[in-house]
Point group: C3
Chain length 151, copies 3
């Protein structure tokens, strides 16, 4: 490790800055799925709870709602560990140019994944590409971190 | 940014202290949902796996169990990104009085959300209020952080 | 608190090193569940989306797929808060020998949990043990952190 950890935790470190910026963007994208689910529930009158459905509707299941919910679950399965692994990777003192570009590409891929899954459905491998780029990046960052921090 | 990042990472910084304290409380609340689910499964003899059901019971679905599970899923959709966004927001050097109050209000709102969703069901907009206060706070904190850390 | 927070954030701190190492291992284990789900979907021809099923298959539900998905969801319910609580606990300046062993035992227990849930199903209490060791550790770490960071 070329630098001490304390030198990484500065506003001048582009890796930390980009981690914070792109993680904020990616997490906002993820929580927007709640609004999308609510909108699809309202539009299709598909409710999960009696107190939401009111007297005029019953609880039901709708494919458009379920599709958004699957996209949301996939975000949680991937974006949450991505942010955690990325943070550990920031602490491992990575090569700045590599780290910054990983954060950018991964965020773009996750936005693409949502677009082809829940907004305009595009045949495979469109969604698989959006899934595997961040997925492989997670393993890369986790293995790099494990090597730096082992014993 | 008035202060260097290193000055934020001290035990004297009320923003960091409150982030750690309220996040610990909120995460404990979230994981308590597992116990609530287990309790409802046991009480209603509703099991998800044959090895849990034993010889005398079959796997089934029960509305009380599903309600707790929906509350748990909603916690995961909101509390996990909340803690992550809050941490990035801490690093963005926010105004202490604003940040500390956000952490307090958000934790209270999520506890309220669980109460009206899974313990005593209260008609809307009770749950919607518990949902939207932390939800809007997340966007506020994420946008503030994105502005501080952009390029 | 015997040491300043800044002294914790060094590559020499075994608590931080072990947190980073074991969290990376545990998060990799969690995201491997996506591959396991995909493998089970492919093997049993059980697809969630029409664009994945193609013309020859229909969307369906399969018990082997659902079992892996339940194990994955359980990981998200536990491993994600574990990593977050562990990080706050690292900042609370715990006794190094206690913290390091918690991280080791918790990671081993979660790997065991997946093994007996989704790979070779072993009767209870095999899975319960793998669940409760990390679960109790989470409360211990969260309460310790809350005590250190209160007001």
């Amino acid at each position: 490790m070329g630098r001490a950890l304390i030198e990484l935790l500065t506003y001048e470190n582009p890796v930390l800055r980009n981690f914070c910026f792109w993680s904020a963007i990616m997490l906002m994208k993820m929580i927007l799925m709640s609004i999308m689910t609510g909108f699809q529930r309202y539009r299709t009158k598909t409710f999960a709870n009696p107190e939401d459905a009111g007297k005029d509707n019953e609880c039901s299941v709708n494919d458009k709602v379920e599709r958004v919910r699957r996209a949301h679950l996939n975000d949680m399965e991937n974006i949450l560990p991505l942010v955690l692994i990325s943070f550990i990777y920031v602490l491992s003192d990575p090569i700045p140019a590599v780290a910054v570009n990983i954060f950018r590409v991964v965020t773009a891929a996750r936005i693409w994944h949502t677009f082809v899954y829940a907004i305009i459905v595009i045949p495979q491998p469109a969604r698989a590409i959006g899934f595997f780029i961040p997925y492989i990046a997670m393993f890369y960052m986790a293995i790099q971190s494990a090597i730096v921090f082992v014993n």
